[in-house]
Point group: D2
Chain length 135, copies 4
């Protein structure tokens, strides 16, 4: 696991069933990835989005148990693979020991012309080190 973001389930995330409205989970995932790019990869989203973007090309989620208003979640992100222009990562949310969801996601590095372009070298190097367990 390469990054952990705590996340309390506040009122805004919940639906009339009193549980997290699942589209809101993707906002949490996006916040966690954004925080990881800043803290771990040193490439904050506000820098990236001056002329590039890192859209999600695919995502797969399994919701194991519902989350309720007030729950103290943590989202754990794990980098899985890095390609020339893509990156795969897992996210997992839990409340104490109970898993709430597990997601696998592919991001793409997109350049100013809207096409995939290679990850910047410092990002690729950092991810490669993390995948190899080097400091």
């Amino acid at each position: 696991m390469h990054f952990r973001m705590p996340q309390k389930v506040t009122f805004k995330y919940c639906d009339p069933a009193g549980m997290v409205f699942y589209p809101r989970y993707f906002e949490m995932i996006n916040d966690a990835i954004e925080a990881m790019f800043d803290a771990v990869l040193g490439w904050p989203f506000e820098e990236i989005h001056k002329d590039r973007s890192v859209p999600t090309a695919a995502i797969e989620v399994r919701f194991d148990a519902p989350s309720r208003h007030g729950d103290l979640l943590h989202l754990d992100l794990t980098l899985m693979r890095i390609g020339r222009t893509s990156m795969a990562l897992q996210s997992q949310a839990a409340c104490a020991a109970e898993t709430r969801f597990r997601a696998e996601q592919t991001l793409v590095c997109v350049g100013p012309d809207g096409r995939p372009e290679p990850w910047p070298d410092p990002v690729r190097d950092k991810v490669t080190k993390l995948l190899e367990g080097r400091p």
Copy 2:
């Protein structure tokens, strides 16, 4: 295809890259499923949620091309399978002939006690007819 929902990409759906923020796509998918439950299955979400719910247990999405502010999308829903307490469906969004995303999703019928329970007979019958291509 069993239900189509038109959806203009309004300002609120878009991110700083000028494209639909992907968590917002799940709101569109939820709106489409809600409209289909009302129009096709005759079981509106506002009835369901008096004491039950139909949460998403799993979802898998491939984003084929970005959608931009002002795009006129249509979301097409196709019922795929119905189990005792679950239901599988596909959704696909396109702008004219260009596919924007394709999703596969499993819903579960959850009772007042928070546990899966069998779909009501009229819902099961209607879905079965649709899957068999009967009127």
Copy 3:
């Protein structure tokens, strides 16, 4: 009243109290204004936002009664005043005869440099005609 937008209260708009989460009302208001700019003023948001914007400078809302999942609302917009770079409008949402909220809002026309700039003449002319009750 210069524009009416029907709006069903779908699941996504509602909170654990089963009522519209009030920040979501502002999304409805934004959708209604966006639709009015397109249909009535002939200046769609997707055109405006190529190099300009029409941010809200101030808004005041009174929530008269809660809205619930499934309610069929209509939002009525009334243009009130147009200045050199600003515009005042009222919005009102109701379900049948019951008012749900009333809002007064000031929009500003902002140019490519981020500063207020005069409304385009066709927009000013159209608003002026509407305010004077001319066809």
Copy 4:
């Protein structure tokens, strides 16, 4: 000022103009009020919403300057008045010394029957102390 919540402007809050989409500000305000009810008044929203609610009856906001992706905001809440069933508060967001918005808002304590009911004594006592500047 009775409560401060730091809030980074993450990607999800921003619109195609690269600024905070103003309906999202109300989510921030709601988060801040929710955190204040927990930390300052000792009545967490997840407790309240078991059978009550604290809806907003009216809100008035002036947006002084736009906020951009990456901005580090702080939201300051100030309790202004407490009535039998209502409460007035101000919120103000700033980035460093620049004010971004100022809001005045009235909340109502609503009971299980959907009608206004008196604030619980410990909440009233705590607010009264804060308004009188007592510890």
